[in-house]
Amino acid sequence: MANSASPDGAGAAGTHEEGAGRRDFLFLAGGAFGAFATGASLWPLLDSLNPARDTLAASTTEVDLAPIEQGQAITVKWRGSPVFIRRRTQKEIAEAKAVDPDDLPDPQTDEQRFGSGAREQWLVVVGVCTHLGCIPLGQKGTDNKGEYGGWFCPCHGSHYDISGRIRKGPAPRNLPVPPYTITAENKLIIGKEQPDGGQGGKTA
């Protein structure tokens, strides 16, 4: 009697032998079922924390470029972060293009970042320091623009040039270029790739 209370008991010994294969199969399959069920029910909970549909839908920002003059910079909000837009002067563009990318911590030419032709005057970068997420200074005329005349991050001293590339300091990468489109009506749509395959945004 006492033995029948335990799976190892002698009372059940007979069935042990004959049912071994079936039992192993059942236990394994049961375990697999349980593991799958747990995993499958955790996924919706986790996925619900990803950006929701309305958040994704609101992820483009439109800016009218017409009123911005050469040398002027504005900051707009895109996906909750600042985007620096600057209409660069010919001198600034020439300066940005003169740099040999091989000398840079994160080698990139200005053309790779902002294209060429009429498009190259528009600098569009996400204004978040690639070091630890502070907002670099340099948008206002009175700001400290750093040693390379672009932006300077006050948190840990990263210097960016007039193409938004990292030149000095702890930041590992250039200020990212978001996907953007400049329409025929001189509107900037941030968050949308140029349909005709313009170069800007490729490196974001």
Partner: protein, 287 residues
Amino acid sequence: MIRAPIRSANRTIRRLAAPAVLAAGLAAGAPFATLPAHAAGDAVAPKEVAWTFNGVFGRYNYEQLRRGLQVYREVCAACHGLRLVAYRDLAAIGLSEAQIRAIAGEKEVAGEPDEEGEPTTRPAEAKDRFVDPFPNVQAAMASNNGAAPPDLSLMVKARGGGADYVFSLMTGYVSEAACKKEFKDSQGKPLVPAEGQYCNTYMPGHIIAMAPPITEDGQVEYEEKGAPAASVDQMAKDVTAFLAWAAEPYMVERKRMGIKVMLFLLLFTGFMYAIYRQVKKDVKGQA
């Protein structure tokens, strides 16, 4: 040898009897106890419609939803909002990006203040939700004899009869004469709609402030090729189907996932039962 399993099965049945009866009794009582209370008195059971979205395998018919959207925009939207639905959601019923942009662009929403700090407006975009026809409740009441037209986003879920009720209401208007004959007010006198009121078989109390919305065949000219004739009945069904979708756009996804989950659980339960029998044999020496 033959008797033994029968006896054991018999014993199992007897052992299960009490809990099973208790469980079944309580389970059967639960839905019984939730019978809607507002079936009392003057409510008339709505007409039953064979919606495409009825039942376990029910789906929306997207062509019908697009016709319904057209009816909503041409007939309902002047008074009723749809504020929980976003224009972008219309992609799910088959509208193109350009069509959505066009529909949204007809409306204005508040924009960022301009440089002088003056408020601005901008055309609505795909990301915006349907713009209300009235700026606020007071305006809605003022233009509608003091009764603000309710928002329709959840209308199908917010009424006892669901889509059947909404359809019945739209097609359930009766003449003043018929109203007097058939319905009574709370004092038992013949029911007479006041100025600006209408008589409706399916409205609780039978008095409604909304004028009959769909009154004649062809009131809406269906744009899409192959659309059925725009009879009153058809238009009412189409717009109701659209509203059913608006209230529960994820229904198709829900039912599809449900089938997978139920099948998996059936397998899981069967397996667990098999394991249970096996363990029972091992532990108790009985199956």
